[in-house]
Amino acid sequence: MSSIGTGYDLSVTTFSPDGRVFQIEYAAKAVDNSGTVIGIKCKDGIVMGVEKLIASKMMLPGSNRRIHSVNRHSGMAVAGLAADGRQIVARAKAEATNYESVYGEPIPVKELAERVASYVHLCTLYWWLRPFGCGVILGGYDRDGPQLYMIEPSGISYRYFGAAIGKGKQAAKTEIEKLKLSEMTCREGLIEIAKIIYRVHDEAKDKAFELEMSWVCDESKRQHEKVPELLLEEAKAAARAALEEMDAD
């Protein structure tokens, strides 16, 4: 599955004869090895969910935050190397604050995505920097409505209705495509995201995981926040029930 660079993969400033930059592709592999991260755009907002694989039984639940608020109206879910992710979030926060202090209004989500992508791309241009080993799903709600962007280690950033990165991204994408997102509210979307994450979680390979979810929608007054405890438990219960139904078949 993995192609060997044979000499063209030693530096991010080297192209291979067939036009690929291998270091960037290897960085993407780091993202593929992390727990699944999903984001969807519903008709009234964005919902994001993360499959947090638990490294040690001694970790407190709620630690190892994978979803961060960048601004009042937007948040980022990170997959891949956690430390790299923290750097990207810090940069995004700085960009958002800087924009607001110059232009006097909250940063439009499109502008934020472009700035973050530009920064991630920057780190693929110099031999003395390595690319970020993490992908980011950015969800926000501004005056143009809710928007969802995904930024890859290469610096590519596209806008999506639904996006998934990490281990179970293929399966997750298939499930997301089945959903009728334009008719779904965030409350319904919550349950769907939880179900998808539970479904794509591989019981055999990774034992325990914790579900972390956030949303930004009309119900949350257009502010990015952790999904309220009650709703989160409902979603988890529904997801577990759906799994059991599937297993029972």
Partner: protein
């Protein structure tokens, strides 16, 4: 320059919102002391397709601030991919006004239309305060208009009502303020675009009566009219 001397900002500038957009108005006198340096100046300057600014105070200072803001807004528009909002334009103006308050002497009124908020007026007086207002007045001539607007201003006027109000107000200020005069220029900004209008000085209402010409005041002694100053 003697900073302690009283200096008048020879201008009357007005910005008014109406149901659907904004009207910006100004006189056209640029004065240096008692001399009218330019009797037909254009004090309403374009920042973007949809945002204009009325300038008062030091001509040089207000021009340089407008130039910088136009430059920043142009870049911002390219980056954003859509027209800038009035709020952003006004914020850029006030940042420059505030951060350089020791060196600048200019009061500005930013007005325009954008698809999110509609017509908006922002007053940015001397120190760099920014205040969003349904209408704003500025310049030396504005002193004479506070009471007028208290009485004459209404929410939700039509375009024609609002423009007539602006023209009337500027002409009233011109009548009383020596540092304001010339013509009245207006700029109307709404969803359909921008319209510039021009009202020559001789078409404006005079706000005073003229006496009949007299050859000599001694004539009154010989006529039967006992009150030469009465207005008939």
């Amino acid at each position: 320059m003697d900073l302690n001397a009283a200096h008048s900002m020879g201008t009357t500038i007005i910005g008014v919102t109406y149901d659907g957009g904004v009207i910006l108005g100004a006189d056209s006198r640029t004065s240096t002391g008692l001399y009218v340096a330019n009797r037909a100046s254009d004090k309403i300057t374009q920042l973007t397709d949809n945002v204009y600014v009325c300038r008062s105070g030091s001509a040089a200072d207000s021009q340089i601030v407008s130039d910088y803001v136009r430059y920043f807004l142009h870049q911002h528009t390219i980056q954003l991919g859509q027209p800038a909002t009035v709020k952003v334009a006004a914020n850029l103006v006030r940042l420059i006004s505030y951060n350089n308050k020791n060196m600048l002497e200019t009061g500005l009124i930013v007005g325009g239309w954008d698809k999110y908020e509609g017509g908006k007026i922002y007053g940015i007086p001397l120190g760099g305060t920014i205040i969003e207002q349904p209408f704003a007045i500025g310049g030396s001539g504005s002193s004479y208009l506070y009471g007028f607007f208290d009485q004459a201003w209404r929410e939700g006027m039509t375009k024609d009502e609002a423009e007539q109000l602006v023209v009337k107000a500027v002409s009233l200020a011109i009548a009383r303020d020596g540092a304001s005069g010339g013509v009245v220029r207006t700029v109307i900004i709404n969803s359909e675009g921008v319209t510039r209008n021009f009202y020559p000085g001789d078409t404006l209402p005079r706000w005073h009566e003229e006496l009949e010409p007299q050859n000599s005041l001694l004539d009154i002694l010989n006529t039967s009219s006992p009150e030469p100053m009465s207005i008939q």
